[in-house]
């Protein structure tokens, strides 16, 4: 019994010491939601600790301009423009022994962008479209739509809509795969939309389906050109050949060539 009481007292004191480090820093504001700009401040209340300096981190990386060796207990960092790039988890870190830090979350709408705005696929092959998201927090829900021709109505697509469609989603990326592309049905715009706790954003991807025979016409055209050129060259050669024969190249004329050679020998020997 006494042992049990001692152990629980020990645990309680440990918890209390742990809990007592947390309230040392007061953050203002504690969370930034959907603002265009903000000033993050941290106030270290426990003045018994010796502060050697401080800095801020963004998503785990130290912000170099915020590094300071000033032993201030009240530090701030201002965000002039909050975009998906500057959103995330900010930590104010006091260089004490041990270090104390606290997190301030800066949240924005998700930034959704298509990996490629124009995708190609071949008929009867598969077509893949992807959207990625940056920012904080990452979307928890992804939905794909097919945009109808009148550009207004959208048809939601999910894994069950059609056995040709497959959707794979992770918080920062979503992929729509169409397994057997058909020219009539699948050409057009697709919309991917991601939702997080603050709201929704979306982007469009244009899918083009190439016909299997599209490459055939240039191929046949160039082959025809080659055949024509080769024929022309051979015909030209056959028609020129009689001229060359008259120049004394035919084997029948070897007697005359030997005469030429004998003459030359005689000339040279006489020199």
């Amino acid at each position: 019994m006494k042992l049990l009481w001692a152990v629980s007292a020990l645990l309680l004191s440990c918890w209390q010491t742990n809990a007592s480090t947390a309230p040392n820093i007061i953050t203002e504001p504690s969370v930034v939601s959907n603002e265009t700009s903000a000033v993050l401040t941290c106030n270290l209340t426990d003045l018994t600790l010796h502060i050697k300096g401080s800095h801020w981190t963004h998503n785990g990386k130290i912000i170099e301009e915020s590094e300071s060796t000033d032993p201030k207990a009240h530090i701030s960092y201002s965000l002039d423009k909050i975009t998906y790039q500057t959103s995330g988890e900010y930590e104010c870190v006091f260089l004490t022994d041990p270090q104390v830090k606290k997190t301030i979350e800066v949240k924005t709408l998700p930034h959704v962008s298509a990996y490629k705005h124009s995708e190609h696929g071949n008929e009867n092959d598969k077509g893949v479209m992807s959207c990625v998201s940056h920012g904080y927090p990452l979307p928890t829900d992804w939905v794909w739509f097919k945009v109808a021709d009148d550009d207004d109505t959208v048809l939601p697509i999910s894994n069950g809509t059609n056995d040709r469609f497959e959707i794979k989603s992770t918080p920062n990326k979503t992929t729509l795969t169409i397994n057997v592309l058909s020219i009539e049905e699948d050409i057009g715009y697709y919309k991917c939309s991601g939702t997080n706790e603050l709201g929704t954003n979306s982007d469009k991807v244009h899918l083009r389906v190439r016909s299997r025979l599209a490459a055939l016409w240039p191929f046949l055209g160039i082959v025809a050109e080659v055949i024509i050129l080769v024929t022309i060259i051979f015909i030209y050669e056959k028609r020129r050949k009689p001229d060359d024969v008259n120049d004394g190249s035919a084997p029948l004329k070897s007697n005359s060539t030997s005469n030429h050679k004998d003459k030359n020998v005689r000339q040279r020997n006489s020199n």
Binding site: H120, N122, R210, A214, A215, L216, P218, F219, L220, G221, I222, V223, V226, L229, V230, I233, F234, E237, D244, D247, G248, S249, A250, P251, S254, T257, S258, H260, K261, D262, N264, V265, R268, N269, N271
Partner: protein, 468 residues
């Protein structure tokens, strides 16, 4: 004065006329042979994603194609010796075309290796050797210029194919593009059709002036002709000589390994080829490593290709000059050494401007070397044995060509710095360059001795004949 039986050709090459059409045809063939494997790299990313393979597996495609192209050299030589250039080039064009069309229906990466890599590579080999060989049969006096012009095909076709391939990829995907490339490559058959066999019997008189231009080839001619035919011009004997030579060179002429000039060329080239392609491959990555952006790095390659394109015909013209032609081997040695010096100085280039300067000088060096590469071989062994020579040379160079870039890459990985790779390339170029200078000095001296000996020998026999 007896006619000097030094022309190992047995006829006077046209040096013009239809020869220029043949140069154009060779331009196309050589251009496709060298530029096609390099330009296919544009499709790698899409094919890699389609078949879900790693980058090194897809890079093998280029290597297999290049390896087949070099390994097919001897086979190509045998066929050219037997049938002449024209049929071989046309068959080669058909092979590459069929390979590309088949591969556009491929379902696995193995398909691509076999079709594009092996069959395509052999087809390109059947394009390269005959194109080089036929220039030697059509040109004697203007041969360096013809060679320089023909070798310009490589950068020009690469320059054209690269953006074209990108356009095809965007419009048709890789399958459609391969199909269309198959038809584009069929134009090699047109090039083959232009390669009319030279009319040997229309100019039977050997030319005394050609002694000047034969240079080192005179060695082979002097030993062959003096054994088969003294200064007797009878046409039957002349034909017998031609038949005798064609019997020997029906298959591949392995006696080349006893040819002094050939052995010099081969030894130097084997070492040099380790460092030949690596700097080109690593130019853009090195620039990016120095901090330039992707477009500027790619622009460096364009500068290099443009300079290369213009310097090749200019080198051909220079090689033709009466001061340089007789001692063209020295010009080649200079080109090799200059390459080496260029690479050794590259690490000193600082900033983007320094890299641009390097790219210009490297383009000059590379173009000079490429334009002369086969011209000097022709100069050494003569047009008759060139076909076999180039076949043997390409299959032996297969190793260094394939191993060069990976070794350079390994150096970069081990040291984390590109300068050691440039030092390695520089030394591997400079040493053969100096080797060539020394050995060719010795070779030229020997050739002059042999020529003087054979001349006095001929004078002796002709005096005997006139006495009779």
């Amino acid at each position: 004065m007896p006619p000097a039986a030094v022309t190992n050709l047995g006829y006077k090459p046209p040096d013009g006329g239809w020869g220029w059409a043949v140069v154009f045809a060779a331009f196309i063939s050589i251009g496709f042979s060298y530029a096609f494997p390099k330009s296919l790299t544009i499709y790698f990313k899409e094919i890699q994603e389609y078949f879900s393979v790693s980058y090194s597996e897809i890079a093998w495609l280029s290597s297999v194609m290049l390896a087949s192209m070099y390994a097919g050299g001897p086979i190509s030589s045998i066929l050219v010796n037997r049938y002449g250039s024209r049929p071989v080039v046309m068959v080669g064009g058909l092979m590459v075309s069929a390979a590309m069309v088949l591969s556009s229906f491929g379902t696995t990466i193995m398909h691509l290796y076999l079709c594009v890599g092996v069959i395509g590579g052999f087809g390109l080999a059947f394009n390269l050797q005959p194109a080089l060989t036929i220039i030697g049969t059509y040109f004697q006096v203007k041969r360096p210029l013809a060679n320089g012009l023909a070798m310009t095909g490589s950068p020009v076709v690469l320059f054209t194919l690269a953006p074209l391939n990108q356009f095809l990829l965007d419009s048709f995907g890789w399958r459609g593009s391969f199909l269309i490339l198959g038809s584009i490559v069929l134009n090699c058959c047109v090039a083959g059709a232009l390669m009319r066999p030279v009319n040997k019997l229309s100019h039977p008189e050997p030319d005394n002036d050609s002694e000047k231009y034969n240079g080192a080839a005179a060695e082979g001619a002097a030993t062959e002709d003096s054994s088969t035919q003294p200064a007797d011009p009878a046409p039957e004997e002349g034909q017998k000589e031609r038949n005798g030579q064609s019997q020997a060179s029906k298959f591949i002429d392995l006696s080349l390994f006893r040819h002094r000039g050939f052995v010099i060329y081969l030894t130097g080239n084997v070492v040099m080829f380790f460092a030949f392609f690596a700097p080109v491959v690593f130019l853009a990555p090195y620039a990016k490593h120095q901090g330039t952006d992707e477009y500027s790095a790619a622009f460096l390659l364009s500068i290099f290709a443009l300079v290369d394109m213009f310097i090749r015909p200019i080198t051909g013209l220079l090689g033709n000059h009466r001061w340089i032609r007789p001692k063209i081997q020295y010009f080649f040695s200079f080109a090799v050494s200059y390459n080496g010096v260029c690479h050794l100085l590259c690490p000193l280039a600082s900033g983007y401007e320094g890299l641009v300067v390097y790219a210009v000088f490297f383009g000059l060096a590379f173009g000079m070397l490429s334009a002369l590469l086969f011209e000097v071989l022709m100069d050494l062994v003569g047009a008759h044995r060139f076909s076999s020579a180039v076949g043997l040379v390409t299959i032996i160079e297969c190793g260094p060509v394939l191993l060069g870039p990976p070794i350079a890459g390994a150096l970069v990985d081990i040291f984390g710095d590109y300068k050691y790779m440039y030092y390695e390339c520089g030394i591997l170029m400079l040493v053969p360059g100096i080797f060539f200078f020394i050995m060719h000095y010795y070779n030229y001296k020997k050739l002059d001795e042999e020529r003087r000996q054979s001349k006095t020998g001929e004078m002796g026999t002709s005096e005997e004949m006139t006495d009779q």
